[in-house]
Amino acid sequence: MKLTIQVNEGPYQHQSSDSAYFFAKAALEKGHEIFRVFFYHDGVNNGTRLTTPPQDDRNIVARWSELAQAHDLDMVLCVAAAQRRGIVDDGEAERNGKDATNIAPGFRISGLGQLVEGAIQSDRLVVFGD
């Protein structure tokens, strides 16, 4: 089964990102393919490099980065949502005159078309949100 997963909420505030992560992990363990994980609305905040969660709690951002690396996942932050919420990569910093970048490893910023393409190319779209 080819899956596209959509995450609508940011880390810690809602359980959505956690649920999506464990779902993704289970799907990969069962041998399914994750076509894309698409982060929308506040979900783009899962892609910031700058979180410092307490030592005794899970590191949501790092967890996604590690999963992406281990399985070569395509994790996309919606560009419009990322611009609104201040998640920036080199390209965005240059285009929009920002003096810093903060995108976490394993994530890339791209357009909403990536979500639509995911829905077209995948067998299932699974949305985690509020």
Binding site: F22, F23, A26, E29, V126
Partner: protein
């Protein structure tokens, strides 16, 4: 064609579980995750919404909230994340009631 209905909010917080359980067609499946698992507790009023529906709940979310499986409404099936994946596979599409 069958649908997997995903509900993640407590029925005592909003109407999503009510929505999902009342619009479900025969053959559809309801999966309660996150705070929605409270809806599966037999002693709670909301469990009446589940009558006539095929319902699963995510075990890890029950455990996190201190709900033991013996407290669940009759016929509710407990699954883990692997089971969640199986439900997605077994149904043609997923409706997330957000």
């Amino acid at each position: 064609m069958s649908m997997l209905h995903l509900v993640n909010k407590s029925p005592y917080e909003n109407g999503n579980l009510n929505r999902a359980s009342s619009i479900m067609n025969a053959g559809d499946v309801l999966l309660l995750i996150e705070d929605a698992v409270y809806g599966a507790v037999k002693a709670g009023k909301a469990s009446a919404m589940l009558d006539g529906c095929t319902v699963s709940v995510l075990g890890p979310d029950l455990a996190a909230r201190g709900i033991s499986e013996d407290k669940l409404a009759d016929g509710v099936n407990v699954v883990d994340y692997a089971g969640f994946v199986e439900l997605v596979e077994a149904n043609d599409k997923v409706q997330s009631w957000l």
